[in-house]
Amino acid sequence: MSGPNEESTQLSLLIFGDLLDSIIVDVASESHRIAKLGLDPKLEEEEEESHPSVASVIFDCMNCGRSIAAGRFAPHSEKCMGKGRKAR
């Protein structure tokens, strides 16, 4: 049998590795859960960039007087002004 020190070092490393592996699985599970449940605002970053918070500002439509969100303004205008205009 090799010196007790050597064996205990080997064993310690194995035990440490075991602990670390468990923690790695925990972290992976946690990240997976967060991703699946959509709990991470940073994950949505890419989508938000094309809809900045400016889109939530409200304007009154000059045509029909309704309160419209800036982000919905274009589609609304199409319908709103389009109805009174059959042909250009």
Partner: protein
Amino acid sequence: MKHSVNRPPTPDAAEDQGKEPTLQEIINIKLIESGEKERLMELLRERLIDCGWKDEMKALCRAHVKKKGRNNVTVDDLVHLITPKGRASVPDSVKAELLQRIRTFLMSAAL
């Protein structure tokens, strides 16, 4: 005569056909029974959070999820993703501290 008469006995779950528990298994049991495994895990977890290791691993996961789409990633994918980096990036001081504690435990377990 039916062959089933000569069928070998169902192996006893505990015995596993005469295989002795390994030293590591014995130690693992002692670690768990004494509660030391739990304490060591918590200590390691805490150290890894403090030094930013956990954040680094989570960032790797996040980047992977972003790339593949969140419905195309399994826990297994993430484990395989972060294991190499995870094992390699534990600070020496953290590793040393844990190894010291483990060694102390081994000594006290009188092996």
